[in-house]
Symmetry: C2
Subunit: 318 residues, 2 copies
């Protein structure tokens, strides 16, 4: 694996035709925005390109496909966007896991599976790096490309709320708006719109809230019965794990989702000092310092007790 | 009233000492961020200044007062920030309503009550204009000033979600982060934190949801009884009126709050085409095209019927 600069990545792309772009599984706004943003940038330079995504694309991101034509060809350059590990390619891993020529990414944890890696781990989103590459390639401003990349930037930063948002993120957003990104519509449709099932899911979760340790730990549960009763789908639960931590005064927010009888998926979110990753590692899981997870088995009561005993050790004495 | 440029406003401020700064009533992040941002900018230039705010400052904005020293003096220059109309001065109107030397604002509806008006109605927040004025005055970068102004910018744009966010807004945000704004903490504390009472209020409201006209109209109610039952305060209801409209497919979101027995405060929010202001004007209210309100009397049933009959006329035929 060779590390390459934005300029070198742009040169690789300029020097090839028939470019295949890969997105990661369970595609989010950033892998899709990066993939389609790059696709339309390459098309505008007269190149043949194609995007492969291992899973279905959520309705709110389908606007990115406007003008996309799926063409089959023998790829001359295979590019992965926002994919930190070849395992994240899902059903595409078998065919392409070891054949990626160029990976454009922002994850510090990138495993270096690609022949060339253009990585900016200070970037809030892969879309921020893709924008730099497109500018370097001389791609002309386009509102559709801008919408794809803006959506990537906004989704990976919680619409600029999260601490990963830097001055450079804001400069990129400013330029994308100048390119014609319809930021108001993306803000409303992606961040200010919730399905009715989603609202049901939030209500269920919030009604289950329990507080521990002087309200510094909030714990919420969603069971298979809740989901069946309210006709909630798995996809309605995305991001729901953020809610318990959002409550004023809460340092540790825990969400327990029943996966199957006796099996629970646990998400831990922390506010300012508890190391969620260290906490979850003690239970066989892991993740990031403020957002981690693990899977536990037993009765709900046992799972709660196991978690709460551990949380106590991580909270500062009052 | 004379319109002045950012340069002229900066010159007025540079040419005076003993400057009194006024904020509007029910102070939000923008009037406070503008007021305290300007205060600390003036202090850094060695001037005496003071901020007057007609109402109490919400806990989440109190960080702005760090380092503030309230000094009494006879003002030589009176500056209003983010105040579109002298009526919005609340209890300060009597003493200062007709004595404002300079108003720095971004509201297109500014009534021109000040001797000099520095207005940029393309700015998403007054804080965006204040930043331009401080830059013009040569104020040195300061992380505390940046935090005040960033908070103003973020609150008036729903943390950059709303359509009023322009490229210039993002450029200003980028520069404020370079000045040292702790955007991650402000994002978390102001936008990702909810009180327990607030969550109770949201749950109550969401449980009351009713849908009409092929789910294009969502209507929610919060009664005095709900508020008493769940110990919800008036301040917990801020911004709650946005929720019904956020539901997928909803064009008109209505929130009815019981103010006193038989008196209801109605908020109307619309997504893409219904003119909320025209709708509310027909009921004796008004506001903006996507966000308006009115006050209705009668039984809850009567109020709902009156609203729904009117909404029907404003919705496009299917």
């Amino acid at each position: 694996m060779e590390r390459v600069t934005v300029k070198q990545a742009a040169d690789m792309l300029l020097g090839h035709d028939d470019i295949l772009i890969l997105c990661h599984h369970s595609p989010d706004g950033d892998t899709l925005g990066s993939g389609y943003g790059l696709y339309f940038g390459l098309k505008s330079l007269g190149k043949r390109a194609r995007v492969l995504c291992p899973d279905e694309i959520s309705g709110k991101f389908r606007f990115m496909l406007r003008g996309y034509r799926d063409e089959k060809f023998e790829p001359r350059l295979i590019v992965a966007v926002d994919i930190a590990d070849k395992k994240l390619m899902g059903r595409l891993e078998g065919a392409y896991g070891d054949k990626v020529d160029l990976c454009i990414d922002h994850h510090v944890s990138n495993t270096g599976y690609a022949a060339a890696l253009c990585l900016d781990d200070t970037a809030a989103a892969a879309a921020q790096v893709i924008f730099a590459v497109l500018e370097q390639m001389g791609v002309a401003p386009s509102s559709h490309i801008a919408n794809c990349l803006y959506c990537g930037l906004a989704t990976d930063t919680g619409c600029f709320r999260y601490a990963n948002t830097t001055a450079q993120t804001f400069y990129t957003a400013a330029k994308l708006v100048e390119w014609g990104a319809d930021n108001g519509t993306i803000g409303r449709e992606v961040f200010d719109t919730r399905s009715r099932a989603r609202i049901m899911a939030e209500n269920r979760l919030m009604q289950s809230l329990e507080f521990y340790y002087d309200d510094r730990c909030a714990l919420a549960v969603i069971t298979l019965q809740d989901m069946a009763d309210s006709r909630i789908e798995q996809s309605d639960l995305d991001g729901l794990t953020a809610l318990p931590r959002q409550i004023e005064g809460v340092e540790v927010g825990i969400t327990i989702k029943e996966k199957e009888a006796g099996v629970y998926k646990v998400s831990v979110r922390t506010s300012t000092y508890v190391d969620a990753c260290a906490l979850c590692r003690q239970l066989g899981g892991g993740g990031h310092i403020r957002a981690s997870g693990c899977q536990l088995t037993g009765t709900l009561k046992q799972v709660k007790e196991q978690l709460l005993t551990l949380v106590k050790d991580f909270l500062k004495p009052l």
